[in-house]
């Protein structure tokens, strides 16, 4: 039994590994490409308005003659950047709260759990809109909104992980050696939950990116002058009735792929870390 799963696992493992590398390269590539891109590439060019997809303009051009391929890449890169900042903030909050809740327990645990429930008490999208609205929209508004709304689920995961080791012998031994809770948390608990945390962080990205573009699409996120998938798709709404399908189709595919791949990376990491669980 053990041997079989091992053998199979190796095969699967290398496949997962390759997928992981490809996905990472793709996403980092888009991210870096977007950041370093010369704005001229997606600048206006009135001599080529609303060109349908062709070799020169892979995704076509929009009503200002902006190349949709470069604009989409730049937009996705912007989304990834915001998703990155927001997820990291969110996950750090989750890490701290999760560990604190599990180790200290008692009323602290109750309060933190209650905050998690509180955050989930409003529809996620409504909460995002409200926070972005409060912050005056724009890059800052949407980043804060995404950062402040994605920690609850990860907090639960971290808390559950800590619960598992809380009563283990080495933790109890550390207490007996006179270490404080903070010391135990940093030296013993943190390393243990780190893998689960990192996987959770990666799996947070796709949500962050998707929510950013959704809120931007509704008009409460990135401003129209900034390339962003949400902005592009909101603009495309004005043109699909006149048959300019490419304005919505390709940028959406790009976003979809990014979300899929981030999900894929997260799941792959999960499998690599914990081969037994990945029976699917």
């Amino acid at each position: 039994m053990l041997r079989r799963s091992n053998g199979k696992g190796w095969n699967g493992r290398s496949r997962v590994f390759i997928l992981l590398i490809v996905a990472t390269v793709y996403l980092v590539g888009i991210f870096v490409w977007g950041i370093t891109m010369n704005p001229v590439k997606y600048g206006v060019n009135y001599s080529e308005k609303l060109v349908s997809p062709c070799i020169k303009h892979l995704f076509g051009t929009d009503f200002m003659g902006r190349d949709m391929f470069y604009r989409s890449i730049k937009g996705l890169s912007n989304s990834i950047r915001i998703g990155l900042i927001a997820s990291v903030i969110s996950s750090i909050v989750a890490l701290i709260l999760g560990i604190v809740a599990a180790i200290w327990g008692g009323w602290i645990d109750k309060v933190i759990n209650w905050c998690v429930d509180l955050c989930m008490g409003l529809p996620h999208l409504v909460l995002l809109i409200l926070i972005s609205f409060m912050m005056g929209k724009g890059v800052r508004g949407i980043t804060v909104a995404v950062a402040l709304t994605h920690w609850p689920s990860l907090t639960r995961i971290v808390r559950a992980e800590v619960m598992q080791v809380r009563n283990s012998q080495y933790v109890q031994a550390a207490y007996k050696m006179g270490k404080t809770k903070v010391q135990v948390a940093v030296t013993h608990i943190l390393p243990h939950v780190l893998p689960a945390y990192l996987i959770g962080l990666v799996l947070l990205f796709p949500h962050a990116i998707m929510h950013e573009s959704a809120v931007t699409f509704l008009g409460f996120g990135l401003p129209a002058e900034m390339p962003a998938i949400g902005v592009i798709l909101a603009e495309s709404m004005n043109y699909i009735v006149t048959g300019k399908w490419w304005l919505a189709f390709f940028p959406g595919i790009l976003l979809l792929m990014a979300v899929l791949l981030f999900d894929g990376i997260g799941e792959s990491l999960k499998k690599l870390w914990n081969p037994g669980s990945g029976n699917e």
């Binding site: 206006v44 009503f63 005056g136 401003p223 129209a224 002058e225 043109y239 009735v241």
Partner: protein, 532 residues
């Protein structure tokens, strides 16, 4: 369970088929009597109550004013038939039309006029479009004669009279009239669904004869949904932006209408500084780049307006170098633009030189760049600003185009450029644009901080002139003086575009030049529309 589902699907399928059938039947226009129109969302955004300034720009359909504007932008009688003005221009006597009824059946008399004017006068704060502060008294001499006394001469008084439509004195209800005003107009509102539709029925008692079309529905939609609805034959008129002008719709033809609606960009004339606003709060105003007159002037002569219009508006619109050109008081000064070399020279003489070779000029370490805001959601204005920015880059001026809601623009308008739309019959708009005292008073007036005592003086002379000729010449002088300082960069007199059902005659010959109204003014002559 499965069978139930199949049943459900079958039901939906059958429904679809029948409904598609219905949709197709609707397209044949032989039996058409109603009109369904999308004319933008402007009329849904405010109250319909004339007392609160509704429809004051000249396309009211429920109520009439004493005067109205004709095709040559001159004033003719509506509810008044004739009038006299005293020698000193302080007393106006209007003789009212007899036999006019309100849509609730009551008679229109001088009492209604007095009531309307007094209500607005006593609640002036509620009506920012019609300014009655110079009226000293309104009296009914008899049932069909009204006399107005002014406290001082006020040359735009006719404009004011044409803007204020009369409401019935007994039936006026401030809340009801927001959505369903009672008036003497050709139409009455029979159903008002906020942000959905307004359904109008012909007023059979209309004094100039009941309209031939008996029911008109004005719908509220997104622009794209409206266009699609027109494509599927659900709409008879659809307002479209210039970006749709190259499209075609079966059975409909694109019609373009001249407007007096100008798009300009305000350029703050003050150096950056803090000032106190009318509420006593310290605010930052001014912009160090646009404060330099050379920059403003270089833009106004150096850009190519036709190119901008071609790029941003598919070529629809007329280049403008001043405020509108189809009104009697409009400036007739004109100049050529696209003088790139001259503009560059101007900038260089003023010390704006590109020393680091990035294509953008600098002066004393200050880059020649500033922000221009367009209202978010207004793609046309955004396009205009972007096309302008492209054009200005040639001169070495970098314009960063941004978007913001009107709430945001309100806080940015004194420090950055903003794309505005202005267009109305009354020359008082010039007062709003240039009067120095209006700076920082909270609204959208004189946002650039323009302060020219000579212009202020001319404005007051124009307002107080006791005859139209003098007033007009003063207004023209206001413009020629103020425009030398270029506080506003005028770009285009826009044109309104509509796809109109080929069988519907919207009487293009009785359409007045459209005032500002985001596409709504086409309704100005609904009573003349007919099915062919």
């Amino acid at each position: 369970m499965k069978r139930k589902q199949a049943g459900l699907w079958a039901c939906i399928f059958v429904l679809c088929i029948t409904l598609i059938g219905c949709g197709e039947r609707k397209q044949s226009s032989d039996t058409k009597t109603d009109v369904t129109a999308f004319v933008g969302t402007n009329i849904f955004e405010g109250s319909l109550d004339p007392v609160k300034g509704a429809m004051s720009y000249g396309y009211s359909f429920t109520n009439n004013a004493l005067l109205k504007v004709d095709l040559n932008s001159e004033y003719i009688g509506d509810l008044a038939t004739d009038w006299e003005i005293s020698e000193d221009s302080l007393t106006y006597t209007f003789h009212l039309r007899k036999g006019v009824k309100f849509s609730d059946g009551s008679d229109f008399t001088a009492d209604d006029v007095v009531f309307t004017y007094e209500t607005v006068h006593n609640n002036q704060a509620n009506n920012e479009n019609v300014d009655l502060t110079r009226i000293a008294s309104v009296t009914a001499l008899d049932d069909y004669t009204v006399e107005f006394h002014l406290s001082e001469p006020y040359s735009p008084f006719f404009d004011t009279v044409a803007m204020l439509q009369i409401v019935p004195s007994d039936a006026y209800d401030s809340e009801l009239f927001d959505t369903m005003p009672i008036g003497t107009g050709a139409w009455k509102v029979v159903q008002y669904d906020a942000n959905q539709q307004i359904i109008l029925e012909a007023n059979e008692n209309y004094y100039a004869g009941a309209p031939e079309i008996k029911k008109i529905t004005l719908v509220y939609m997104d622009n794209d949904a409206a266009f699609a609805a027109a494509q599927s034959g659900q709409l008879d008129i659809v307002m479209v932006g210039a970006n749709y002008a190259n499209e075609t719709v079966n059975g409909m033809t694109l019609q373009k209408f001249e407007t007096m609606d100008v798009r300009n960009i305000s350029l703050p004339v003050l150096e950056e500084q803090t000032q106190k606003n009318s509420e006593g709060k310290e605010v930052t105003v001014g912009n160090n780049v646009t404060a330099d007159k050379a920059v403003r002037e270089a833009l106004s002569i150096g850009i190519n307006r036709q190119t901008i219009i071609d790029h941003a508006l598919n070529g629809i619109g007329v280049p403008a170098v001043h405020f509108t050109n189809n009104l009697v008081w409009a400036s007739t000064d004109t100049y050529e633009d696209g003088k790139v070399e001259e503009a560059k020279q101007l900038l260089e003489d003023a010390g704006w030189v590109d020393s680091d070779g990035d294509g953008i000029r600098e002066k004393n370490g200050q880059k020649c760049t500033f922000n221009v805001y367009a209202a978010s959601g207004d793609e046309e204005r955004y396009n205009l600003a972007v096309a302008l920015a492209e054009n200005a880059l040639e001169l070495g001026i970098k314009i960063e185009v941004k978007t913001g809601t009107w709430d945001e623009i309100l806080t940015l308008q004194n420090t950055a450029g903003v794309v505005w739309g202005w267009g109305q019959y009354s020359p008082t708009v010039l007062y709003s644009l240039f009067e120095s005292e209006l700076f920082l008073t909270g609204g959208y007036d004189n946002v650039v901080g323009y302060n020219n005592p000579q212009v202020d003086e001319l404005i007051h002379q124009a307002l107080s002139a006791n005859n139209q000729e003098d007033a007009i010449s003063y207004w023209k002088e206001v413009q020629s003086t103020a425009n030398q300082d270029e506080p506003y960069l005028y770009l285009v007199n826009i044109q309104h575009c509509y796809f109109v059902n080929d069988n519907l005659d919207i009487s293009a010959e009785t359409q007045i030049p459209h005032p500002h109204g985001h596409g709504s003014p086409i309704i100005c002559n609904m009573q003349d529309w007919t099915w062919k």
